[in-house]
């Protein structure tokens, strides 16, 4: 009632105070709430003055008694704020705290004995005492949102979510923190004296200012330069994998995830639990420096992140009484199962759904080399559908050539164009099939740079755009533009030599020139007509539903 309103109001005002001191602007909501609370408090003041002359006290007493425990429970450990209800001088808290629970029980019985004013004064004194004692106890902690407090206040508390470190490269403190973290992540090998740290890969070349918060590495300076040669700190399979990532030998999000899990299988096979340690905890700690190493070689993809989460969960769920050999076999089987379910069988299911969407006489446009889209087209061709494919390609990766090779090898008739010709060729196209690197929680599709352009032009021509993506690539991140989180590839890839001349050879010496080699971009869901996943064909906006269902399953 009024009391609870007061306590609620107190809590909210404290939050607002805190956010004010943190220098954040109050949102509209918060301002409205402030206004409400001020009104309430004014009302409370008036009511309190009227209480003494009001009738129907018993009801109020009862209600107040009920609300008191709730009210006292929901009192935040706040500093005595100047907006608090003016109260009489609080009696010593110790004396007041003890009689509170005791007095609750006999109070209703004693009510008719005492006068109304006395009772009210007692109650107020008790409340103040409790508030003061709680204030002394919990000055530092944040208010725990209780059942009474609704959702809106909790929004205010963690006001800013910390940005991940890989998108804060231009902040020198964050870079220092990362270096320290890598130092701490030393793997104590067999010689404890030799704690070699995971090296920090340094950025290369001038970074375009819009993307200066991202890392930009050179392929000619591999991370293995700073590691010893028979790598004992990092498992050789992981070193090999890191090299393959940074040189682009394993590229494409499915291939990267499979290779990662394969490397983890080798790590698990070669793992022995040190004495006095538990496999479930130690193995996860062992994997952390490997993951940082791989991250330095090439930033992890969303699918790899999900695979790592799954593995870590499986490892931590191993019961402690399980023997090492059994545990290892179990983990290896888990990995095999994960790959089988999420990649191989998912590809089959997606192919099955997509073939329904491919009709005879179709002209299908694909972009770059997506392993899933290639798989779908090959399956459709085997099921004797008649269609032809237009492969769109773009520099500097020119992955479309590989897609072209695979399709033509099967016997599909293909056309090959560069992305600059997309608007010329789209009138011929009946469908566009795109692959995805990740699907974000707000329905945006993160894929190879250029995909959003293709989707845009296709929308302009009213050509349906179908995105094929397995569910394990669904990511809980939210992004609305391609700047916040992206990957910068080696800028030297953009340099091309024609007829013996390399114009951009000395691009670093020109002070006003920067080369930008982006890898990913995000496509808004308005341009995507259908997402084909292993769970079925869903619209782009249903991605958060799938994520929620997945979380519930787990």
């Amino acid at each position: 009632m009024a009391e609870s309103g007061v306590t609620d109001g107190l809590c909210n005002t404290d939050d607002i105070e805190r956010s004010k001191t943190e220098g954040k602007e109050l949102t509209k909501e918060e301002k409205q709430r402030l206004r409400k609370e001020k009104k309430q408090q004014k009302k409370n003041k008036e009511k309190n003055d009227e209480k003494t002359s009001h009738e129907g006290e018993k009801k109020k007493n009862k209600k107040k008694k009920e609300e008191q425990p709730a009210g006292s429970a929901s009192q935040p450990p706040a500093q005595p704020s100047p907006k608090a209800v003016p109260a009489p001088a609080p009696p010593p808290p110790a004396a007041a705290a003890v009689p509170v629970p005791a007095s609750e029980a006999p109070a209703p019985a004693d009510k008719p004995a005492k006068s109304k004013a006395d009772l009210k004064a007692e109650r107020r004194a008790r409340q103040e005492a409790e508030r003061a004692s709680k204030g002394k106890k919990g000055d530092v902690g944040q208010p725990a949102p209780t059942g009474k407090l609704k959702a809106p206040p909790s929004e205010l508390q963690p006001v800013v979510k910390r940005l991940p470190e890989h998108v804060q490269v231009d902040n020198p403190e964050v870079v220092k923190k990362l270096a320290k973290k890598l130092e701490r992540q030393q793997t104590p090998g067999c010689n404890a004296a030799e704690n070699v740290k995971i090296p920090l890969r340094s950025d290369y070349g001038y970074k375009v200012s819009l993307f200066s918060h991202l890392h930009q590495y050179s392929r000619k300076a591999p991370l293995t330069q700073q590691l010893g040669i028979p790598s004992t700190v990092i498992h050789p399979a992981i070193v090999r994998l890191g090299l393959q990532y940074s040189q682009g030998i394993v590229a494409g999000s499915n291939a990267r995830s499979v290779a990662l899990l394969h490397a983890f299988q080798q790590v698990i096979r070669d793992y022995t639990t040190p004495p006095n340690e538990e496999l479930s905890r130690d193995l996860v700690n062992k994997l952390k420096p490997y993951i940082s190493f791989l991250n330095q070689c090439r930033p992890l993809s969303a699918s790899m992140g999900n695979a790592i989460k799954y593995i870590k969960k499986e490892i931590s769920n191993i019961p402690s009484q399980c023997k090492e050999e059994e545990a290892k076999i179990k983990l290896l089987n888990c990995i095999e199962r994960y790959i089988n379910e999420k990649i191989v069988l998912a590809a089959k299911a997606i192919a099955k759904y997509s073939i329904e969407k491919i009709s005879d006489g179709d002209v299908i446009l694909v972009y770059g080399c997506s392993s899933l889209v290639n798989h779908i087209l090959c399956e459709a061709f085997e099921k004797k559908r008649k269609f032809r494919v237009i492969v769109v390609d773009s520099r500097p990766r020119l992955e479309g050539r590989e897609a072209l090779r695979r399709l033509v090898q099967k016997g599909i008739s293909c056309t090959y164009v560069l992305i600059s010709a997309v608007s010329y060729i789209l009138p011929e196209v009946s469908k566009v099939f795109l692959g995805a690197h990740a699907l974000l929680a707000n329905g945006y599709v993160m894929s190879r740079v250029g995909t959003s352009q293709i989707a845009l032009v296709a929308k302009a021509f009213n050509v349906p755009v179908l995105v094929c993506c397995e569910t394990y690539k669904f990511c809980e991140r939210v992004q609305t533009d391609s700047f916040v989180s992206n990957e910068l590839d080696d800028p030297d890839d953009l340099i091309v030599t024609r007829k013996g001349k390399t114009q951009l050879e000395h691009w670093q010496k020109v002070p006003s020139l920067g080369l930008l080699n982006l890898v990913y971009d995000v496509t808004p869901p308005d341009f995507v007509d259908l997402v084909i996943t292993d769970l079925g064909m869903i619209p782009c906006t249903s991605v958060p539903v799938v994520l929620r269902v997945k979380n519930v399953d787990q």
Partner: protein, 454 residues
Amino acid sequence: MELQAVLMAAGGGSRMPDLTYNTPKPMLPVGNKPLMWHPLNLLERVGFEEVIVITTKEVQKMMSTDPKMKDVKMKLDVVCIQEDGDMGTADALRHIQQKIKTDVLVVSCDLITDVALHEVVDLFRAHNATLAMLMSKAHDFTETVPGQKGKKKTGEQRDFVGVDQSGKRLLFMANEADLEDGLSIRKSIMRKHPRMHIKTGLVDAHLYCLKKAVVDFLADNKSISSIRGELLPYLVRKQFSKTTNCPKSKDDADDQTQKTADGSTNSTELLICSRDEPLLQLAQERSCWNDHRGDMSEAYHGGKLRCYVHIMDQGLCYRVNTLAAYIEANRLASKLLEEPAVHPSAVISERCQMGPDSIIGAQCQVADKTSIKRSTIGNSTTVKEKVKVTNSIIMHGVTIEEGCNIHGCVICSNAVIGRGADLKYCLVGNGQQIEAEAERTNEVIVGTDQLMEI
């Protein structure tokens, strides 16, 4: 463990008999350190902790007494083999097959280089190669070699090395001696790699990364005795052989009985071909990468056996197996070593002129009015007054009396050069004594006992 290092130090130094008849080649001083110290230093710098050293008993004895070898902090597992037995490098590998548990890095003891070793090993790792080796552009030796009469003969057999367009994949390797009629390249190679660069001016550094399966293959095939001469050309040829490419018959690989029943050639193919596990296969299929373009085949043309080479164009890389190379290496040794050129325990008088490129060993005594330029002086050497030493290599324990003039010479250990001798471009053998006031030019002065060895 990723790689095991093996140092081949049993070679005889057959191309420089004058130097090696008393001192075995691995212990010849280069920059006042034994020759085999240099590759060991390279391995140590890079991060190796253990090395298997294959050498002779004689060298092992000398190693244990040499103070410089004690600087090596790695654990050296010395395996002795008979010196006179005709053991080739491949035979030596077969000898230690039991010790080899993982992929192996074979280094020759006469390699002096400052290569960034990760370049070679990265090729080995990234492409899952069977062989990765190091080669360098050959530098001409400019120094005059003592005892060489006439022009430098170009009779050295050339090596023909064929690489693909990226310069990393090794397609062809043959020595001039094996090519009688001409250089013939198979059509299958040309179809897969239409652009090949064939290079002749390359020096093979004898640094190889080999897969463990190759060592097992050697154990079965006892006919191969030299790594460089026989194994390497065999592996390079086998990349394009039909049997390695077509069958993905994994059941054959697992069937042990079939291995023994078949002829040795079949089983050995299966042993070498890197058995790609199904997950790796899946990853490669899904990856949108290809090492070549223009034809219809998948990455690596589906070949499981791959050989890679890293060709250094900058930096030092010398194989000290001839006298000329030995002199050159000594000249450049001061650049490689981080230690001060003059050993702290050497006693050098103040009136001595010493050039910056000279190296003076421990416990030397250099008297007044001497001039030492561009030379290396070994340990415990005594140089008396008024001696001029230029462009020379003087090994340990040598005594040079007053007034000598030594130019462009190589003077081996424990020699004594008499007073006032004038030596130009000479090679003085071990323990020799040059009489006073001798004047020798372009001669090799060795003892009579050495003359008997041919």
